[in-house]
Amino acid sequence: MQTCREVCEQAHDYVDGNQSLLSRAKIGLHLLMCRNCTAFMDQVRKTRSLIRNDAQPGAEMQVSSELMAAFARQSANPSPKQAPERGAKKEKSQ
């Protein structure tokens, strides 16, 4: 049986689903019997959800007029298309 500390140290991996089936089962078993760890796991889930939904910190951020002008210039006079960069180390598409 895992201790509460051991369960809590794995809590973020548990909510992310980054664990083996066996590890998940061990934690699940502990949670069935431990109200404190269940409460902790609930806190971890809610924290994760709040961070994920803490959307759009720059929602009001606007493109500067300088940058927008550069975008317009580039669109009007696009650079000659370069060779595809699939094999290039820098700035390749991932």
Partner: protein, 201 residues
């Protein structure tokens, strides 16, 4: 917006398409550049330079990865190059040594010494209604080291994998996950303390 559609619109010079990507991605870019260079002022400049490079290279984007990730890659390469040229190193400690939980959380036997409170009051309705919850989360994020702020933005907002995130930041995927968990844990503790305060008052 579909990635291909977004790319096509940007190629045509659609300013609304650029404005949409910029509004949501630029803050993530700045956090990434700060994490790599350790210099907020330089990070702002590099982010602007990266956008110019994006405009210049837009026609070469092949769609092997999401456009937003391709833009982040351009910035990360620029930031790493500049940091090397200027002899700058990430100033902050990126060590992940040390305990996840502060002293006193658990007994020597590993049981709870300070049991967690129930967050039953933190319902979705309350979260939606209460701006203060967002402010607490935002405030807690801003107290994190730059690397952890960038990791939160890249993983939680941009949905990058730990591997892709580590690639941008020069960290292993394992270290990225540890940083992510430490960051979340600090935010959880902040929320817990604030909710306990609210309960008392």
């Amino acid at each position: 917006m579909q990635d291909r559609n977004l790319h096509q619109r940007m190629l045509r010079g659609d300013q609304a398409a650029l404005a949409g990507v910029y509004a949501s991605l630029n803050p993530v870019m700045v956090r990434l550049a700060v994490a790599i260079t350790g210099n907020p002022a330089l990070a702002e400049d590099l982010t602007q330079e990266a956008w110019l490079a994006v405009f210049d290279k837009l026609a070469t984007f092949r769609g092997d990865a999401p456009l937003r990730h391709w833009i982040l890659r351009i910035l990360a390469n620029k930031a790493r190059t500049r940091a090397r040229q200027e002899g700058k190193r990430r100033k902050e400690e990126t060590s992940i040594d040390g305990p996840t939980f502060p002293e006193g959380h658990f007994s020597d036997g590993g049981d709870w010494a300070l049991p967690p409170q129930l967050w039953d009051d933190l319902t979705p309705e309350r979260v939606l209604a209460g701006r203060e919850i967002w402010q607490i989360v935002q405030g807690a994020i801003l107290t994190l080291p730059a690397t952890q702020q960038a990791i939160l933005a890249l993983l939680e907002r941009e949905n990058l994998s730990a591997e892709a995130c580590g690639d941008l930041l020069g960290l292993s995927a394992g270290n990225v996950r540890v940083h992510l968990h430490r960051a979340r844990e600090k935010i959880r503790r902040t929320l817990d303390a604030e909710l306990a305060d609210a309960e008392r008052n």
